[in-house]
């Protein structure tokens, strides 16, 4: 070991600073990965169930980080100052508040309504803390940071996973690139081999079939089934939304979750004989699920912003906050119940009563959509209930452990090979596009358009929440040291001309980049064809050379050296010509010109 250590020491002793700094960064990231919580758990899950199931848990951990960050900044910047200026809570605590969120909790720091609008200062004439500005800036900064993180993650994943959308050699990559070397469990390895075998056999049967000639009858049946399924799910979505709306209007405390429970039952029941289209249908199922959840959240937001906010209730923000708290809680309970029924009971049924069913698989799509839905609710609720991310954080932690235990005990590794990278990209895209952007628009409407309630909250009495910022800017105008802030506000943030110019600029840049991408794509195709043609030329030349060598051997006695020299010279010259021709091809349309030219010259 001394020799090895010595050589290690020698190499470690010598380094140039830039490279060593980079390696220091690499080392830090490696150490950071190993020190992260649940590192060993995730490794075990990946080894036993494969990378696709692992990606669900990594996504859950990633979402947990958002909530931890939000909870910390909300608690630090909003709640702790509120503790200094708190009023006494004269409601009594019964256990029911944990479920309903109302009652005792109504006047705690959990909800918007209990935050003061005063400027807090502990000591006379010391620096004061403006609660209004703190509230709006904390929430605003958090959303800006989330936006940037989501944008960069999505861009990075897109660039990595959708580089060559048209070039997908299905068989080659299936053979050489899909074997998951991380799996070390014997049963999992056997299962992976069986799955690969099934897929290859399916691929072969597709190859053997010339054209999928369905008869007219079969095509009609397929079309009809698709149509019925779509109509049914859309009708269920509309019915669920209408139900939610009318129930909320009538103020019955039946939770909206019940409304779409029956649709979840309706959706998975597919007509038989659709196994060929199963993978596409899986995406369709997820898509319908997404539509349903988006429409329900949309209806709820419409109800909250249009009806609750303009009603005469005392503190509408707190009411909305309570609604969201209850939704988050019920979603959490249903997630646990889903795990219980979908995995535990299904395993019991699959092993004792109806053995042909076998063990259940971990339903990645449905679980990820549940996570996205929960996170959407949390994001909407941050403005109305600043400590909601803390509650969601605890919920996610419990969900992680429950799902992990349920996975290990009840499930088997997945049958279908999920295209993990593309699935993860789509999930983060779903998180960004309908979910986060929808939340931003809801928050935008709340901050800019809605009138805060008169008697509670940090923005009481103002015409809108944003008016706090406008007032602050007005106050700043009297200080010369902060004139630049006022200038930025008037000319950049609240000026429409500036946004118009920026939008035009961004559109122009986007268009230019799009054209560059088109050009690069054409270039790639040309280069690809050039490689193919160069290969054909090489083969042709090799054949020619072999022929020449054979004739050289047979006519060596005849002393035909002069003839061969000229032939070899011809070949060399021709080779140069082919290279030049190949370069010229880059400017012309690709075609098999090389081979044709080769045969023409000789």
């Amino acid at each position: 070991a001394e020799d090895l250590v010595g050589s290690l020491a020698n190499s470690c002793l010598s380094s140039s600073s830039l490279q060593s700094f980079r390696r220091f960064g690499n080392t830090l990231t490696e150490h950071f990965h190993q020190l992260q919580p649940w590192h060993k758990t995730l490794k075990i899950i990946g080894a036993e169930f494969g990378t696709s199931v692992l990606s669900y848990f990594i996504f859950l951990k990633w979402l947990l980080n958002f909530n931890i960050f939000s909870f910390l900044i909300n608690f630090g910047f909003i709640t702790i100052p509120q503790f200094l200026a708190a009023e006494p809570n004269n409601l009594s605590f019964t256990g029911l508040e944990l479920l309903t969120g109302a009652g005792y909790f109504q006047q705690t720091v959990l909800y918007y309504g209990s935050y003061t609008n005063a400027t807090i200062s502990k000591v006379e004439n010391s620096a004061s803390y403006n609660m209004q500005l703190a509230y709006i800036f904390t929430v605003g900064t958090y959303f800006v940071i989330c936006f940037l993180i989501l944008l960069f993650s999505m861009a990075r994943l897109f660039s990595r996973n959708f580089v060559n959308p048209q070039a997908r050699s299905v068989n080659a990559s299936k053979l050489l690139c899909t074997w998951d070397f991380n799996i070390t469990n014997e049963k999992a390895v056997k299962l992976q081999q069986k799955n690969l075998l099934t897929q290859i056999k399916e691929g072969l049967t597709e190859l053997n079939k010339e054209v999928q000639n369905f008869s007219v009858m079969e095509r009609v049946v397929r079309f009809a089934t698709h149509l019925i399924a779509w109509v049914a799910s859309l009708a269920a979505a509309v019915a669920a939304c209408a139900g939610v709306y009318f129930l909320s209007i009538n103020n019955l405390k039946v939770r909206p979750e019940f409304a779409f429970f029956h649709t979840v039952v309706v959706l998975p029941s597919l007509p038989p004989g659709m196994d060929q289209l199963l993978v596409q249908l899986l995406f369709l199922l997820l898509f319908r699920n997404i539509i349903l959840k988006i429409s329900i959240v949309g209806i709820l937001c419409y109800y909250w912003l249009n009806i609750v906010a303009t009603s005469e209730s005392q503190c509408w923000e707190t009411l909305v906050g309570q609604d969201i708290y209850r939704l988050v809680l019920v979603d959490f309970i249903f997630c646990l119940l889903g795990s219980f029924f979908g995995e535990f009971l299904r395993r019991i049924i699959g092993t004792t009563v109806c053995v042909s069913l076998g063990l259940p698989e971990f339903d990645i799509g449905r679980n990820v959509l549940d996570l996205i839905y929960a996170q959407t609710l949390t994001w909407i609720g941050i403005l109305f209930s600043p400590l909601l991310p803390g509650i969601q954080m605890i919920a996610f932690l419990i969900v992680f452990f429950v799902k992990k235990v349920s996975l290990m005990r009840n499930c088997q590794p997945p049958c279908k090979v999920w295209r993990t990278a593309q699935m993860m990209t789509s999930f983060i895209f779903l998180l960004f596009c309908p979910s986060f952007l929808g939340v931003l628009s809801v928050i935008g409407v709340t901050v800019w358009r809605l009138k805060p309630s008169e008697e509670c909250g940090p923005f009481r009495g103002l015409p809108s929440m944003y008016a706090a910022v406008a007032e602050w800017i007005q106050m700043l105008e009297s200080y010369t040291a902060w004139k630049w802030v006022v200038w930025i506000y008037h000319n950049l943030i609240s000026s429409e001309l500036f946004f118009f110019i920026i939008s035009t600029f961004v559109l122009v840049v986007t268009y230019l980049y799009w054209q560059i991408i088109q050009a690069r794509r054409t270039m790639t195709k040309l280069l690809h064809n050039q490689i193919i043609n160069a290969g054909k030329d090489k083969k042709f030349l090799l054949q020619k050379l072999q022929k020449v060598q054979r004739s050289k051997r047979s006519s060596s006695a005849l002393g035909g050296r002069g003839q061969q020299v000229s032939l070899t010279a011809q070949l060399l010259l021709f080779n140069c010509l082919v290279q030049v021709h190949g370069v010229l091809q880059l400017c012309k349309q690709p075609a098999g010109l090389g081979k044709g030219c080769a045969s023409n010259f000789i």
Binding site: A1, S15, S20, R23, N26, T51, T420
Partner: protein, 200 residues
């Protein structure tokens, strides 16, 4: 001869703090690896390397390690890292193997070794025979002969770019670049290889 990615080769003289930390961490890793190497054959592997002993463990011992035992390509993995091509690994080869299989190795290095693993007859090309052997290992020899031939022909047709009937390293790399899951499956970048995690 593999340049061990754990070591790096630059020329300077000062020793900053982070170098010391990295050196300590690497040292611990190598000691841990040596512990695993030693426990496979305690009578053969020495603890003292000052006399530069020439000790090699045969392939049979190494492919029984729990991390490799279930892998259908275990013999090929061990063979591609052994100097004599027979599968017996000295300790240096052993460290090389685990450093390439861990997340510390760069993508190009992993691609090189993936190519070597699939190249059964070590002629620096993945020819049809290599693909047939790979297919047999991946599917536990449950395909018929003409199915195997069909799949291998399809693979070569799709991935062979220069038309020589077999896959060179350039073809292989091109195919990998279109499969974004490849690195994730081939000893995913963010996860410590199983042996080394035992230490933490």
């Amino acid at each position: 001869r593999l340049k061990n990615p754990l070591l790096f080769e630059q020329e300077q003289l000062f020793l900053p703090v982070w170098q010391i930390c990295r050196f300590c961490w690497l040292f611990l890793l190598v000691c841990r690896l040596h512990g695993r190497y030693h426990e496979m054959a305690p009578n053969v592997v020495p603890m003292d390397y000052t006399k530069d002993p020439d000790v090699k463990l045969p392939m049979q011992l190494i492919i029984n390690m729990p991390e490799l035992k279930e892998n259908p390509f275990k013999e090929r993995i061990v063979e591609s890292f052994s100097e004599d091509g027979e599968g017996s690994l000295s300790f240096n080869d052993f460290v090389d193997m685990f450093s390439v299989l861990s997340e510390m190795a760069p993508r190009e290095l992993k691609a090189i070794y993936a190519f070597k693993i699939y190249d059964f007859n070590t002629d620096n090309f993945i020819c049809k025979a290599d693909l047939e052997k790979t297919l047999n290992k991946l599917t536990r020899e449950e395909l018929t002969a003409e199915e195997i031939t069909l799949v291998c022909e399809k693979v070569i047709e799709e991935a062979d770019m220069d038309g020589d009937g077999k896959l060179g390293f350039a073809d292989f790399e091109n195919m990998i670049s279109k499969a974004p899951d490849f690195l994730r499956y081939y000893f995913k970048k963010n996860r410590v290889s199983c042996i080394l995690a035992g230490m933490f």
